[in-house]
Symmetry: C2
Subunit: 339 residues, 2 copies
DNA sequence: TATTAACACGAAACCGTTTTCGTAACAGGT
DNA sequence: ACCTGTTACGAAAACGGTTTCGTGTTAATA
């Protein structure tokens, strides 16, 4: 086992000081050509690479960014990570991923773990429990310490920091309007409770579209599931006790699952019932029929978040100006609506 | 902005030495009750948390593990990450995720970036380019430095390290046998080139099942796609120029995509053609018809990998014994085969 | 020849911990 | 009064770098 070589080793071997080695490897003007060449050759021969940890300690920069997300199995989050990773990597940053699994406690623990020097900044999306609870002290602490934070998708207004969201209201509005234009009158909505910021905005967009088109908002056509887990029974009851000609769902899994249940009832998609879902992920693409979906552009969101965070990390200025970037959703039309 | 407090700050404030503070916070017997209480109270008040980087430097342990995978959008890898994260987190480790995106160069760069002190060990699955190229020097270097590595799923025999795989051959064998038992005679296989270790094993299992059941292995019924990207034309050609009554695919996306194409031809699944795919992911569950799939138990694989890695990291002994854990695949029967 | 500037390098502080070792102060025993 | 043993703490080295500043040597200048 050949152990890693350090500056000290090189210095001893070449009978110069550590400082000289350090400078020589940085090609400093201070060091003579001869010495530099000798040291650089030696370093290359022994494959010297500076120790990241030592450097981090010295300049108080880790070149790591912490990503805390509720779930990695939702395709949307996966694409966001990809976007983050892509941008961060190009800038020489590494990405530490922590999953809160929709739990407040886990979110807090993860953040505390990372906040003690492990990372230069956070990119995160709040767990549903956090949003439900409305307790953001862990975020407050972190920002007060001067650690930059970028919140994406599931955000809160109670924290001053950069934010990236898509215009969820617009997305739902576009989707609902599309359904209305196709002559649908009884459009149902399957969502979570309003505690999830995104669900709330989407519900608003849905209402807005109905109202603008003089359609009644029938509260019994709005199903609020109590968690992110599929509650099959609730959905079946909902379908059994209401008639509808279109369904809008706030996420992909709700959508495909609901479609299956509708199909089991013998109804045809899109003829009898049209479906539009949020998140244009793998499921939307490959579901049968393929899903008309509101694309959230997760990868773009990830890139944007990473860019905003790294800008802040690397900016010298102590400005306390935060911005919220609102990305535009796109409607990807497939076979679950009439073309 | 209240900046982080250090041992030095506490020492100065309380007019004791840094060593005393450090010991007091560790509840050392060396320090008197009074002093300890005073220091601990002060530390708590100012929310002192030791700096991870400093600790890492000191004990040459980062409590980070590096995960290098080809792709995060494949559901299988997502579940593996989840398993890793779960186990690692419980053990106080953080997970740094790097994506090679099936590229050899990226894989090398990522590993080099992390190998300089940022992590205590690697968990990885080889990029297809790496497997194709057969160049594993980056792995060799890392293991020679004494950094523990666990390879999962896409592995190589050229590197001595711990490994976790599922019995891919068995999985394909089980799937093929199932199809044979249902009376299928012309079973096609859609795979990648043999450079991918898993594809190779799966192909072997497929052949083995056919041979054991006295069915001919018709090479024209084996489609080898040249990359992980869907090549629609090749698949259509394949279906047009061959007749078959069952299809086995080496991954989920190949499977659902192929199903779509078969359905477009007007064939019925499973009556005309049965399908079985590898990886029991979201797509399998929600595809229409839902997919009979070989479950790879990604989460289990992730946990096992993390466990093996952390065991090695934390074991004092300098043993050079490596093991390969082989997980058993399971056949999850759904509607793409006859029940 | 004395002064000075440029050159090339080393010493040491620093980042924030942990840990070993040394020691002042005091108590107890003889 | 002397020795010994605790007790309670501090000094300093170490982890592996970066960076500031000081300095010995040489060559150029007055």
């Amino acid at each position: 086992m050949k152990t890693k070589i350090t500056l000290k080793d090189i210095a001893k071997e070449l009978e110069v000081s550590i400082s000289t080695v350090s400078k020589a490897l940085k090609n400093s003007e201070e060091i003579s050509r001869d010495t530099k060449e000798k040291i650089q050759a030696f370093a290359k021969l022994y494959n010297y690479k500076p120790n990241n940890i030592a450097i981090s300690l010295k300049n108080k920069r880790t070149k790591n960014i912490g990503v805390v997300i509720p779930d990695i199995v939702h395709h949307f989050f996966t694409t966001v990570i990809r976007g983050i990773e892509k941008y961060a990597n190009a800038k020489g940053y590494n990405v530490i991923v922590c999953l809160s699994e929709e739990s407040f406690d886990k979110e807090v623990i993860n953040m505390e773990m990372l906040a003690n020097g492990s990372i230069d900044g956070f990119i995160m999306s709040l767990s549903s429990e956090t949003q439900q609870k409305g307790d953001f002290n862990h975020l407050k602490e972190v920002t007060e310490q001067g650690i930059p934070v970028v919140l994406f998708d599931r955000i809160t207004n109670e924290i001053d920091c950069d934010k990236v969201i898509i215009d969820d209201q617009l997305g739902a509005y576009m989707a609902t309007k599309k359904l209305i234009e196709q002559g649908r009158k009884k459009i149902a909505l399957i969502t979570t409770g309003d505690y999830l910021s995104v669900s709330k905005a989407r519900t608003e967009g849905y209402r807005k579209a109905l109202m603008e088109n003089n359609l009644p908002v029938d509260e019994s056509l709005i199903l609020k599931l109590s968690s992110m887990e599929i509650d099959e029974k609730s959905i079946i009851d909902f379908f059994d006790s209401n008639s509808m000609d279109a369904v809008l769902c706030v996420n992909e899994i709700f959508t495909v699952y609901s479609m299956k249940l509708i199909q089991k009832k013998g109804l045809h998609i899109p003829n009898d019932v049209s479906f539009i879902g949020f998140t244009d992920g793998l499921l939307s693409k490959y579901a049968n029929p393929s899903l008309t979906a509101v694309a959230q552009h997760g990868e773009k969101m990830g890139e944007t978040s990473a860019q905003m965070l790294i800008d802040k990390i690397e900016s010298e200025v102590e400005e306390e100006t935060f911005q919220t970037k609102i990305l535009e959703p796109t409607l990807v039309v497939r076979d679950s609506t009439i073309n």
